[in-house]
């Protein structure tokens, strides 16, 4: 430091420490910091992402405090409010779906003052066991990796022409999906479909239409067969459960017809699959004109792969045997043992013989879905017990009668369209669980046959054909990346019209004559 520098004082002569800015700036800044703090601690985005949850709760609260309409009990009003909340949550998926059944169970105990043990008992019925067992069976079967052999078997029957292969895939997928869950079959057969496509050409653009034909054959095969037997989908088991819970009276032999067994259901619903089978194949080929009709190259490669895998192992044969035995049991023993127990027997056999590990079943079964159907059925029964379903049914029937759809074909059409509308907004199982008690009671009040109306509801719920998200099988094939969203609408709209016509024809011309 120089001598001259000593005469300077930095604090005095150099940069100045000015007084802090005025009060207002400080006040603003502290306010902004507090806001940041609140924003950090309260994740406002949480309220936004879960907005429908809060909206649903608010709607439920308003419905509960609203004046009770005449003819409806207070408990009925609460159950209806719960159903509306559950429906909003099903449609918006504001919370993970398995949350909804938990909330239903809590609501039954807290709001309806039902005994907790009674609620717990109402959750587990034979139908729920049946759904659970079917899901487990499906995992066990898919684990065996029989997909290529099934494809090879199809090709051996149909030859190498695309039209016939498409028909074969639809038929075989349908034949399997009639007995186990449709999404399982779609998941099992998707690799085969993609294999056939890629073996034809590696460039997806060159085989876009061919891909659409093959993949839709899988999806529609699964979809049209899902209604054929009770084990084809959870919705069928739910309707069976409702028939029993709502109309069966042990003291009245007349009501034994409401105990639906496996074989009777199949007699009613299998034609729905058989009639639509050729129509699907024709529609697919008519809608998407495949680039090539000869798939011999792909088939020869498939054959090479199958031969490389060697002959079918004993575990494969055993799987087929147990599966056939289970179906046999469902058809002939369900009266004595119940559908659920037979499904569990099949699963136990798979586990005992070491064909599947429990870890695989545990990872492959969506337990949330089991819980969902259990709670939904329980709530449906509660709706009937409190008279809420009856009240809604009467109100709904008044509306139907005003538009001239109070009976017969008009009534059936209205029920079918209502179910299609609801099941295009949420999963088919949930749609049937919500609608079941209402439509069955409406049928009862209107003097229609609840059995026929139940079938219409269960089958119509499978007509969600318009979007890739409408059905699990569609979501699975859409995930392959070969298809566009509008493809689903193109073929789906045609398929929906055809399906409704066939369903109403069966309801008018076939079912009344086989009714017990």
């Amino acid at each position: 430091m120089t001598q001259a520098a000593a005469s300077f004082s930095l604090p005095r002569d150099s940069l100045q420490a000015h007084e802090p800015s005025q009060r207002l700036t400080r006040f603003q800044r502290r306010g902004y910091q507090r806001y940041l703090l609140v924003r950090q601690n309260i994740d406002l985005n949480f309220f936004w992402t879960r907005r429908w949850f809060f909206i649903a709760l608010l709607v439920g609260f308003l419905l509960m405090i609203a004046p009770t309409p005449s003819g409806l009990t207070e408990e009925g009003q609460i159950v209806l409010a719960m159903s509306v909340v559950a429906t909003i949550l099903f449609v918006t998926e504001a919370v993970p779906l398995p949350t909804v059944p938990l909330l239903i169970i809590i609501g039954q105990v807290v709001l309806l003052k039902v005994d907790p043990t009674k609620v717990a008992q109402s959750l587990m019925t034979d139908s729920v066991l049946f759904i659970m067992g079917s899901l487990m069976l499906a995992v066990a079967i898919v684990k065996q990796r029989l997909d290529k052999r099934i494809a090879w078997a199809i090709v051996q029957m149909t030859g190498t022409n695309v039209y016939w292969i498409s028909f074969g895939i639809t038929a075989v997928c349908g034949a399997i999906a009639a007995f186990i869950g449709e999404h399982t079959v779609a998941a099992m057969m998707l690799p085969v479909g993609v294999t056939l496509i890629t073996l034809t050409s590696q460039d997806p653009k060159k085989v876009r239409n061919l891909a659409a034909v093959i993949l839709f054959s899988i999806a529609y095969g699964c979809s049209i067969a899902g209604v054929a037997t009770p084990s084809g989908g959870a919705r069928n088991a739910i309707i069976i459960s409702y028939w029993k819970d709502l109309f069966y009276d042990p003291l009245d032999p007349e009501t034994r017809r409401y105990l639906m067994d496996y074989l009777t259901w199949s007699i009613y619903a299998f034609p729905m699959f058989l009639i639509r089978l050729p129509i699907v194949a024709a529609l697919l080929v008519y809608t998407f004109k495949p680039e090539t009709t000869d798939m011999s190259r792909a088939v020869s490669r498939l054959r090479t792969q199958v031969i490389m895998d060697g002959p079918l192992k004993p575990s494969g044969w055993l799987t087929i045997l147990i599966f056939c035995l289970t179906i046999f049991g469902w058809i002939f023993l369900s009266e004595q043992l119940g559908l659920g127990v037979i499904a569990l027997l099949g699963v136990s056999a798979f586990l005992v013989l070491g064909l599947v590990r429990w870890e695989d079943i545990n990872a492959g079964v969506n337990w949330g879905v089991v819980l969902l159907y259990a709670a939904a059925i329980s709530l449906g029964v509660e709706m009937t017990d409190t008279g809420a379903a009856d009240w809604v049914a009467k109100s709904f029937l008044d509306v139907l009668q005003n538009v001239g759809a109070g009976s017969g074909l008009g009534f059936n059409t209205a029920i079918s369209l209502l179910t299609i509308g609801v099941s295009n907004t949420m999963t088919a199982g949930a749609a049937v669980a919500v609608l079941g008690p209402i439509v069955l009671n409406t049928a009862h009040v209107a003097g229609q046959d609840p059995i026929i109306v139940g079938f219409i509801t269960a089958i119509s719920s499978a007509f969600g054909y318009l979007t890739p998200a409408a059905q699990p099988a569609f979501t699975i094939i859409y995930a392959s990346g070969y298809l566009k969203g509008r493809d689903f609408f193109t073929i789906g709209s045609r398929m929906m019209i055809v399906s409704v016509i066939i369903l109403l024809a069966l309801a008018s011309l076939y079912w009344p004559f086989i009714a017990r």
């Binding site: 430091m1 940069l15 007084e19 800044r29 994740d43």
Partner: protein, 335 residues
């Protein structure tokens, strides 16, 4: 009374205020430099700059690390705050403590060794965070102090500005800005450095790796405000023994005499203060571009802040800010 801020009697209150006033007066007699670090390798240059500028025992250095408040809600169901409390009870160091210790080593390399100085630690609650604000003060026998401050705030920029109010400080030293938005966009959030430079009440030095260069490059436009700034910056340069270059830019050739006059006036002013000017330069062209271009070979460019509010900046801009933003060397924005 609902809005009384104190429960003390008038006499006690007066005593408190008097103590505070004395403390502030004491601080006014010190040249206080606030060096802000954020733990990145580049940010430690602020400590080196602070050490170089703090030439004598009149200067205090405060090293500040602002730690964002622990978020409480979204941490996988476990409140981070509880976890932090447990960690502190187990004797783990908070983030920032290690960096503050490292800054002591840097000061030691620069010749300010605080190890033998008596130290005093204090702690204050802040924003309800368990860590709060922690301060360690080292005071030399000659009255010089070095403070390490670990501050908790909802965000870094406002933490630094809050710290100023506890100060005040003569100079804030900040690291290089990583993000700098237009004056309009800056309303909706911007980087820490821009936020502090915009709002600070005192002069700000934005430190870039320019320690290998020499000299103060002091810019003036001839206004009385800028002459004040020249005078104050020159004293700082002079005390450091650094060379001083005076610079002025004319927008066109016709205005060059005015620019030359501004430089000559500044030189005369400094000469009267017995401060030697090494060089004077003028240029013609865009003010900001010329300053950045010509000043890049000097250690520090000195610009005068126009003192405009945020609203005024949107319409008029701020040449000082533009230089701070675009320069390739350190910039001292004098207020």
């Amino acid at each position: 009374m609902l809005f009384t801020r104190t429960k003390l009697s008038d006499r006690q209150e007066r005593a408190v205020q008097k103590t505070l006033h004395n403390l502030r007066q004491q601080r006014r007699n010190r040249f206080r430099i606030l060096a802000c670090i954020d733990g990145t390798e580049e940010s430690f240059i602020t400590v080196t700059f602070a050490a170089r500028l703090a030439v004598n025992d009149e200067c205090d250095i405060i090293v500040l690390y602002v730690r964002p408040i622990d978020q409480a809600l979204w941490s996988g169901g476990l409140q981070l705050r509880i976890a932090r409390q447990n960690m502190m009870e187990s004797g783990f160091e908070l983030p920032g403590v290690r960096d503050l210790k490292r800054s002591l080593e840097i000061l030691k390399e620069e010749g300010i060794d605080v190890e033998s100085w008596p130290q005093e630690a204090s702690h204050q609650d802040a924003w309800g965070d368990p860590a709060g604000d922690t301060k360690v003060e080292y005071r030399s026998p000659k009255g010089r102090s070095v403070v390490l401050k670990l501050k908790t705030a909802p965000d870094a920029a406002h933490g630094i500005l809050d710290q100023y109010e506890l100060g005040p400080y003569n100079l804030m030293v900040l690291g290089e800005p990583s993000r700098w938005r237009s004056e309009f966009k800056a309303w909706f959030g911007t980087g820490v450095v821009q936020e502090v430079v915009t709002h600070a009440s005192c002069s700000v030095l934005v430190a870039r790796p320019s320690l290998d260069k020499e000299g103060f490059f002091i810019c003036t436009d001839g206004s009385s405000r800028s002459m004040q700034a020249v005078r104050r910056a020159a004293v700082l340069a002079h005390m450091q023994g650094a060379s001083i270059t005076l610079f002025s830019v004319a927008p066109d050739e016709a205005s060059r005499p005015a620019a030359e006059e501004a430089v000559a006036n500044a030189k005369a002013l400094l000469k009267a203060m017995k401060i030697t000017v090494t060089d004077t330069r003028t240029a013609v062209g865009d003010t900001v571009d010329e300053i950045i271009e010509t000043g890049s070979s000097y250690r520090i460019i000195v610009v005068t802040d126009e003192g405009r509010s945020r609203l005024q900046r949107i319409f008029k801009g701020s040449k000082a800010s533009d230089v701070v933003r675009g320069a390739r060397t350190s910039v001292l924005d004098v207020r």
